[in-house]
Symmetry: C2
Subunit: 376 residues, 2 copies
């Protein structure tokens, strides 16, 4: 089990990665809260709810609390469960409206605690609800997908989509605690699991030879059920992100490195209406594209580029990008949310372990890299 | 002209109160932004837009900036104006969705600046949009009502309503600058203007004999057009709020004192579906009610209570509360958003210049104070 500490503008918090991570909730100060709410999906709760309650001893501790003076009148009610439908479509302002209405109905106040148990949608939406309900309540993030465990659950970024624009509305609202137990990945589909691995590879490129080489060596042993092999890999991937966001929570500059592969990736997702690729798969393609771009610009050597290319492709089969309209992709790239004053801020690999942020990349090079990728 | 400085968890900012306050925008660092957006109402812009642009020299400064290297490619476009319909109904998540969609369409990015020109709705909604658009952009608040100038524009509280629940969703997102020019109050209706005066009276009760006595002496000279009499009064009322929020931005405890009169006030507003009273009028009744409650509980002497009662009533005629169903008002009180664990946190005047926060007020006393008020 690995413990990390993230320093945030609002409060420090712990990230716990490993089998049995949920147990850390046993020493969480429940007495500080007036009530507890679960925010999750029906399917996930059916699969993991009982185990979560057993490991965390939440009901037992709440029951005990009710008997104390501090807990008197607090926690009078059994924790309420709020379910949302699975899928990206739930990350909407309409759903925010529904969820806050339910919180109000069940008596949530400013001292209530939200426990978000799920993948990226649950974490992003739950975090946004927590950050805005009565101007902000605390939440605990319990990520249940590989992608959420190594990426989206860390760093306090919350968001909902508006129209076709992903994460257009959101906030920085760090959770009080993040509990990432790799055992829960067992219930993931292989495709969804691999989707998370693309982010792990991205972290490998950022971290350097250590994690990257480890991935080259052990990638084939990683599977949803192989917790023993997964745990150290996830912990190292988490460490990469923790280190970046501890130094730059608000994405002033440094945090932007985490966007590696995402500029192309977002455009691929959007060009296909978010139907063809999982987010991770789009990032996989994005890593391949930006690697080509970096080579073309003379930023990255071809030997390292080949290693990146090989590792990304080993993760699994990717749905095609060959048929995407290049003009449309280029247009979408120019609308990237991380652009400033109309300029795309590219994160380019310089070598394994180092990236560079470049704003003046000629459109012709971007187009050529894309062409190259589509022909590959 | 008075300058105040508010210390916030995010950044310090200045509040400027007085004739010519808009001129302070001339020395605002526009070069730090990629584009500028106005967020206002059509009617307000027609009345004050030209004057605002002239006083702030905004267009001229943006034009100059376009010629410099720093401004190159930035501010290529004329500032866009985003209009919303007047009225509380605009403070919705639906409207947030519309406004962020427009911001995106007009190319707003993370370094865009929003200038919110209007009353409480514009400030609350504009602040919420600014706090969540791409996870937060900067905004300048230009309050155009008495209530917004002494109260809602200060302190960085942003909000929208959800269903019947006012301000259920929101954030703490301090503006970069607040410019309160009392000259703009000229275009207010007498009723809306008086509505703001109830908050000024509230601040008088909080501040102490100084402001309170000044109000007793000069209340009748205050009118939307009498800027000379207004300016010092507004500045003192602003000072009260600035001092409170500088010490407790997040309403841990101290900031709660600003809720004086609002517990009853919110219940009166809600009991009448927000149709009968302006917010200020409801607060006026709220002050009368809580004064009675404080006397009944032995917290406030009857002589001071009479002075508060007299001053509130001198502000203007109040729509009746006599016919409200007491049972419904009591029920709404118990749902107050500032309750913790189901307990109402009452802010009771102890004397002019001092309030006390009390959580264990017997329901019978609350009911009796309400009965007394309705019979008065």
């Amino acid at each position: 089990m690995k413990h990390f500490r993230i320093t945030s503008h609002k409060s420090d918090y712990e990230v716990i990665v490993g089998r049995g991570a949920w147990r850390a909730l046993r020493r969480f100060p429940l007495e500080c809260y007036s009530s507890v709410f679960f925010f999750t999906e029906q399917r996930l709760w059916s699969r993991w709810g009982r185990a979560f309650l057993a490991e965390s001893r939440l009901l037992r501790n709440l029951r005990e609390l009710r008997g104390t003076e501090a807990g008197h009148r607090k926690h009078a009610r059994h924790p309420q469960r709020l379910f949302i439908p699975p899928g990206e479509a739930s990350k909407s302002l309409k759903m925010v409206e529904r969820v806050v209405g339910e919180l109000l109905k069940f008596g949530a106040d400013r001292h209530s605690l939200l426990i978000a148990l799920g993948g990226g949608v649950i974490g992003d939406l739950g975090g946004f609800v927590a950050s805005t309900y009565m101007r902000g309540i605390d939440y605990v993030n319990v990520p249940t997908t590989a992608l959420a465990q190594v990426d989206s659950a860390l760093g306090g970024k919350t968001a909902v989509n508006v129209g076709a624009m992903k994460n257009l509305v959101g906030s920085f609202h760090p959770p009080r605690l993040v509990l990432a137990d790799p055992g829960v990945l067992r219930s993931m589909s292989v495709r969804a699991f691999r989707s998370g691995l693309y982010e792990v590879v991205k972290h490998g490129i950022l971290e350097g030879p250590g994690l990257f080489r480890r991935l080259e060596r052990h990638l084939d042993t990683l599977s949803p059920a192989n917790t023993a092999a997964l745990e150290p890999m996830l912990a190292r991937a988490v460490k990469v992100k923790v280190e970046v966001i501890s130094r730059d929570e608000r994405e002033a500059e440094l945090r932007l490195v985490l966007n590696l592969g995402h500029t192309f990736g977002h455009a691929f997702e959007e060009a296909t209406g978010y139907h063809r690729f999982t987010h991770g798969e789009a990032v996989g393609w994005g890593l391949l594209a930006v690697t080509r771009l970096a080579v073309r610009l003379g930023v990255l050597g071809s030997a390292e580029a080949a290693r990146i290319d090989r590792l990304v492709r080993r993760v699994g089969p990717l749905p095609p990008v060959r048929d995407l309209d290049p003009a449309r992709v280029l247009k979408l790239l120019s609308q990237d949310k991380k652009s400033i004053g109309g300029k795309i801020r590219w994160v380019l690999p310089e070598r394994i372990g180092k990236v560079r942020i470049v704003t003046d990349v000629p459109r012709a090079d971007v187009a050529a890299a894309l062409r190259d990728l589509q022909g590959s």
